[in-house]
C-alpha cells in the first residue's frame, strides 16, 4: 500500500512547556498552595546552607584580618598575674610580640552626676602602648595611647563602651568621669571581632592608672602572638611562664579556636534544620503528587479530547510530567528566592555579608526537579493509560 508510515511528530519543547503550563494556569490557587509546600522545604534548606556559608565566610574574614596565632593568658577573676608575666612570655622561643592589660577597680561615667551603680558594664584597664599591634586593634576616631599620653588622664574607649557612654568624638572637649576625675577621650576603637572583651574596655596608660586609680600594677591578661608554626608548641608553656608558682591559675586560650568552636555548635543546629527542610520538602512533594492525581481525575475529558486530536500515550504522559515539573520548579524557584531572602535577612542582623553558595541554589533546583519527576510520574502514567473512550465519557 502506498500509505505513508505513521510516525508521531516530535513536539517542540516550547509546546511541551505551554501545554504543561496550561493545566497550571487554570487552577492558580491550588498551584500556589502546592508550590508553597515545595518552596518552604527548599527555602529552609537554601536558608540553612546560606546562613552556614555566610557564617563560614564571616569566620574566614575575621580570621584573615586577625590571624589565628593570637593567644591570651588570663588571670582568674579577682586575682592577677605576676609582673614578670610579660617578660617571661616574651622570653619564650618563637614569641615575638607580647602585650598586657591590667584590670583596675575604677569606674567610668559620662559625667559626675550619674549614680555610681550605673557603670554600663565598662571595665577600666591599664593598657600597654603596644597592645594594638599585638591584638590587631584599630581606632575609628582619634588614636591609641602613645607614650606621651600615658602619664596624663587620657583614655581610649572600646567600641561598645564609647557607644554606651555616648561618646562619638575624641579630643580636648570629650571628657568622661573616670575613677573620680575627668579623663579626655583620645581614641575610640573599632569593634574587635575576635576579642569582644576589648569592646567593653576603657584603656588608660599604665603610669596614670597607678598614680590616679589605685591600680596595683599587675597585669590580668597577657596577649601574645607566637610565630604561626609555633602556636601549638607555645600554647602549653604559657600558663607556667605567666605564673610559675601557680600555673593552673592562668587560663590560656586561643580566641580563633573559640570562634571556630562557636560556629561548630551552630553546625549541629544546621543539621537539624536541614533535616526539617528535607521533611518539608517531602511533604511538599506529596502535595504535588496529590495535586497531580486530582488534576488527572478532573481532566479526564481533556485527556480524551487530546487523544482524539492525535496525542500519543507518550505525549499525554509528557504533558502531565511537564506540569508536575513546572509546578515544583515554581515552588523551587520561589524557595530559592525565599532562602536567599532568609540568608540576607539573617546576615543583616548579624552584620555579616550574605553568601549563598551557587551549589546550594543548584542543589535546591535539582532536588525540586527530582521531586517533581517522582511526584508527577505515577499520575502521568495513569493519565496516559486512560482509554480515550473512557476519558471522553461524561464523569
Amino acid at each position: 500500500m502506498s500509505a505513508p508510515p505513521l510516525v508521531p511528530a516530535r513536539m517542540p519543547v516550547a509546546d511541551v512547556i505551554r501545554v504543561g503550563g496550561h493545566g497550571l494556569r487554570s487552577r492558580p490557587l491550588r498551584v500556589f498552595l502546592s508550590a508553597l509546600g515545595i518552596a518552604i522545604g527548599i527555602a529552609a534548606m537554601v536558608g540553612v546552607m546560606g546562613i552556614s556559608a555566610s557564617s563560614t565566610h564571616e569566620l574566614d574574614r575575621r580570621l584573615s584580618s586577625f590571624g589565628t596565632n593570637l593567644l591570651t593568658v588570663t588571670a582568674e577573676p579577682e586575682s592577677h598575674l605576676p609582673t614578670t608575666a610579660v617578660s617571661m612570655i616574651g622570653a619564650l622561643p618563637a614569641v615575638d610580640t607580647v602585650s598586657a592589660v591590667g584590670r583596675t577597680g575604677a569606674r567610668v561615667y559620662r559625667n559626675d552626676h550619674i549614680p555610681t551603680e550605673r557603670t554600663g558594664g565598662i571595665v577600666v584597664y591599664a593598657a600597654r602602648t603596644d597592645l594594638p599591634t599585638v591584638v590587631g586593634a584599630r581606632t575609628v576616631a582619634g588614636s591609641w595611647l602613645t607614650d606621651a599620653y600615658t602619664a596624663y588622664p587620657a583614655v581610649v574607649l572600646g567600641w561598645t563602651a564609647a557607644r554606651s557612654l555616648a561618646v562619638y568624638e575624641t579630643g580636648p572637649g570629650q571628657l568622661v568621669w573616670l575613677g573620680g576625675r575627668w579623663f579626655t577621650v583620645v581614641g575610640i576603637l573599632a569593634p574587635n571581632d575576635l576579642l569582644t572583651d576589648l569592646d567593653y574596655g576603657a584603656f588608660v596608660g599604665w603610669p596614670v592608672a597607678e598614680r590616679e586609680l589605685g591600680f596595683d600594677g599587675y597585669p590580668t591578661t597577657v596577649y601574645t602572638r607566637p610565630q604561626q608554626s609555633a602556636v601549638t608548641g607555645v600554647q602549653p608553656l604559657l600558663g607556667a611562664a605567666a605564673n610559675p608558682e601557680n600555673p593552673g591559675e592562668a587560663t590560656v586560650s586561643r580566641p580563633s579556636e573559640v570562634l571556630k568552636a562557636q560556629l561548630e555548635t551552630r553546625r549541629t543546629l544546621n543539621a537539624l534544620l536541614l533535616g526539617l527542610g528535607a521533611v518539608a520538602l517531602l511533604v511538599g512533594g506529596i502535595g504535588v503528587a496529590n495535586t497531580m492525581v486530582i488534576s488527572v481525575l478532573e481532566r479526564r475529558s481533556e485527556i480524551g479530547l487530546r487523544r482524539s486530536l492525535g496525542a500519543t500515550r507518550g505525549q499525554i504522559r509528557t504533558q502531565f510530567l511537564a506540569e508536575a515539573l513546572l509546578l515544583s520548579l515554581l515552588g523551587g524557584a520561589g524557595g530559592v528566592a525565599l532562602g536567599i531572602g532568609i540568608t540576607a535577612a539573617f546576615a543583616a542582623t548579624q552584620g555579616w555579608a550574605a553568601v549563598v553558595p551557587p551549589w546550594a541554589m543548584a542543589g535546591g533546583m535539582a532536588a525540586t526537579l527530582l521531586i517533581g519527576g517522582l511526584a508527577g510520574f505515577y499520575p502521568a502514567v495513569r493519565a496516559a493509560r486512560l482509554p480515550p473512550t473512557e476519558a471522553l465519557a461524561n464523569p
Binding site: L6, P8, A9, H22, S301, G304, R307, L309, T389
Partner: protein
C-alpha cells in the same frame, strides 16, 4: 475506484455481556455525508468510536483511509487520528479560559506544525466557520452554537479526510443546530467525508445517506 475512507467488515464490539456492535459491515466513500441513527443504546457512539480508532473492535477488520487499523499500534493510531480524523462531540470539549483561536490551533498540536502555522490555520478555520469576529473570545463568552462551531473549526483544521460528529446538535436549540448542520454541509461540499450521529429525524432525513442501527446491528443503509 478509490479506496473507501472507512471500511468495516464483520466488526463486533463486546462490553462484558453487552454486544454493543454486532457483525457490522459498512463502507463509506470519500466525500459522503451520512447520518447514523437509532434508538438510545443501539450502538451509535460505539460505532463512531471504532471508526474513529478511539476504541478497537472485539472482532472484525477495519480500514481507515487505506490503513488496516488492526495492524497498527496505539502510537500509530494516534498519528492516524492526528492526520486523518476530526471529532466533534456533543459537549464541545473546549478548554475553559482559553481564547477561541488557541483552542482551534490545538487541532494541529500533535501534527508537528509550528505554533505560528497552527495559529494562522486557526484564524482561517474560524473565518471558515463564520467566527472571524470571535477569535479572542473565551468559551463562556460564546453561545452554544458558536462553541460547537469552534469545536468544528478545531476538528477540520488539518483538513482531515474524515470528520466524525457525535450528536453535534444535541446540546443546541434548533436554530443553532441548523447553523451547525449548514456548516457541516459546506464542509462536505468542500470534500470532507462526514459522519453525523443524530437523534433528530429531520436532520437525518436531510442527509444523503442514513445508516440505521438497532441493538448493535446495522439494519439499513449498508450500501450507498
Amino acid at each position: 475506484m478509490t479506496t473507501p475512507v472507512v471500511e468495516l467488515s464483520g466488526v463486533s464490539k463486546r462490553y462484558g455481556d453487552v454486544l454493543a456492535l454486532d457483525d457490522a459491515d459498512l463502507r463509506i466513500e470519500r466525500g459522503e455525508l451520512l447520518a447514523v441513527v437509532g434508538p438510545s443504546g443501539s450502538g451509535k457512539s460505539t460505532l463512531l468510536h471504532i471508526m474513529g480508532t478511539l476504541d478497537r473492535p472485539t472482532t472484525g477488520t477495519l480500514h481507515i483511509d487505506g490503513y488496516d487499523v488492526g495492524a497498527l499500534s496505539d502510537r500509530e493510531l494516534s498519528v492516524l487520528r492526528a492526520r486523518a480524523i476530526g471529532f466533534v462531540f456533543q459537549q464541545f470539549h473546549l478548554a475553559r479560559g482559553v481564547p477561541a483561536i488557541d483552542i482551534v490551533a490545538d487541532g494541529l498540536l500533535y501534527t508537528g506544525r509550528s505554533r505560528a502555522h497552527r495559529r494562522q490555520a486557526a484564524e482561517q478555520a474560524l473565518h471558515r466557520v463564520g467566527l472571524g469576529h470571535r477569535m479572542k473570545h473565551l468559551p463562556h463568552q460564546l453561545s452554544g452554537g458558536e462553541q460547537q462551531r469552534v469545536a468544528i473549526a478545531r476538528a477540520v483544521l488539518g483538513d482531515p479526510p474524515l470528520l466524525m460528529a457525535d450528536e453535534p446538535t444535541g446540546a443546541l436549540d434548533s436554530h443553532s443546530g441548523e447553523t451547525v448542520m449548514a456548516l457541516l454541509r459546506d464542509l462536505n461540499d468542500a470534500g470532507t467525508t462526514i459522519v453525523v450521529i443524530t437523534h433528530d429525524r429531520d436532520i437525518a432525513a436531510s442527509l444523503p445517506r442514513q445508516v440505521r442501527l438497532k441493538d448493535g446491528k446495522i439494519i439499513s443503509g449498508v450500501r450507498a
